[in-house]
């Protein structure tokens, strides 16, 4: 995975960018962190073109679709990105990464993080949080996944039975818990 947010101008690496969330909280973040969010980067560059950025950190970038609680978690994830984004090359590392992914809470929390990462076009985050959700589906029974995510099975019994027969092979060897 390539790091696409190198700062073209190292001397300005300590520059701050202010982000404003849906609940009107202001976040002052380092430019290098903010540039991980492609939506912010795009906005920032457009502003630059308009010469508004000449005012420096006084530029406030509004993020009407992101709540402060979610943004705070995304920023903290972003800050420890270099080490957590290393490619897992053995089983042990994969387990460590899996544990790390587990720390991000309930399905509701993860869905909030995914929606925000998607809106911000934050690729590494999207990859990480989507995989964190996938971890809860991997090798689990239909009943477990439904219960865990609160999904209501709305197939008619005969429809579900038909699928179960058709895809019988897909339901073999899964954990029941």
């Amino acid at each position: 995975m390539s790091n696409t947010s190198e700062n073209p101008n190292p001397s300005s690496s300590s520059a701050k960018i202010t982000l404003k969330t849906s609940d009107n909280e202001l976040f002052e973040v380092e430019e290098a962190v903010a540039m991980k969010f492609c939506t912010v980067k795009q906005y920032f560059e457009d502003e630059k073109d308009n010469d508004v950025a000449a005012r420096g950190s006084s530029t406030v970038i509004p993020l009407p679709n992101v709540h402060s609680a979610v943004l705070a978690r995304l920023i903290s994830y972003c800050k420890k990105l270099p080490q957590s984004n290393a490619v897992a090359d053995n089983h042990e590392e994969e387990e460590t990464k899996k544990k790390e992914r587990k720390q991000y809470g309930t399905p509701g929390d993860l869905v909030d993080l995914i929606s925000a990462a998607n809106y911000l076009d934050f690729k590494e985050g999207l990859e990480f949080f989507n995989q964190a959700l996938a971890d809860h589906i991997q090798n689990k029974s239909v009943e477990y996944v439904r219960k865990f995510f609160g999904i209501k099975g709305d197939f008619e019994p005969h429809e579900e039975e038909k699928y179960r027969e058709e895809y019988a092979w897909a339901f073999e060897g899964v954990d029941e818990d």
Binding site: V111, A134, K147, F148, G150, I151, D154, Y167, W169
Partner: protein
């Protein structure tokens, strides 16, 4: 312990758009992705649109005798490709080690190319490159091809 972190009855994940559900499903094996189709009507189709498809006729382990297994696999690949509805495929791996599945490689390759595949890998000892469709050579989206 796991119960404390469940969704408390609120179904958040099903509200995600198809593109994100597909991305989530792309971390699973095809077998697991197919398994999600039974969760609810919302989940019936997203698995057919995952960007990467990996088909291997030997992953179908315990479902009856040889012919059952192979037919099961053939039906599955046909089903996925038929429901793709032109949705672009980024990566596709077709690994066929059985004679009966290999016989379908020609039509599957055509179908995959129609889905504008970018990376295609075909593994089969029973199939020769010369037996593959001509459209493979003129496919505009194909970037990488290996056998």
């Amino acid at each position: 312990m796991e119960d404390s972190s469940t969704a408390n009855g609120e179904d958040w994940i099903s509200r995600l758009p198809d593109s994100l559900l597909c991305h989530i499903l792309s971390f699973l094996s095809p077998k697991e992705a197919v398994g999600t189709s039974i969760l609810s009507k919302r989940w019936e189709n997203p698995w057919t649109c995952v960007p990467s498809l990996y088909f291997c006729d030997t992953f179908m382990t315990d479902c009856g005798n040889y012919m059952n297994k192979v037919n099961c696999f053939i039906d599955y690949v046909n089903w996925v490709l038929a429901h793709r509805d032109g949705f672009a495929i980024e990566k596709c791996n077709l690994s066929c080690y059985t004679l009966h599945a290999s016989a379908h490689l020609y039509s599957w390759t055509c179908a995959v190319i129609a889905c504008m595949v970018q990376e295609l890998t075909i593994k089969s000892e029973l199939f020769r490159v010369g037996q593959l469709p001509w459209c493979l050579l003129t496919c505009k989206t194909l970037v990488e091809y290996s056998t």
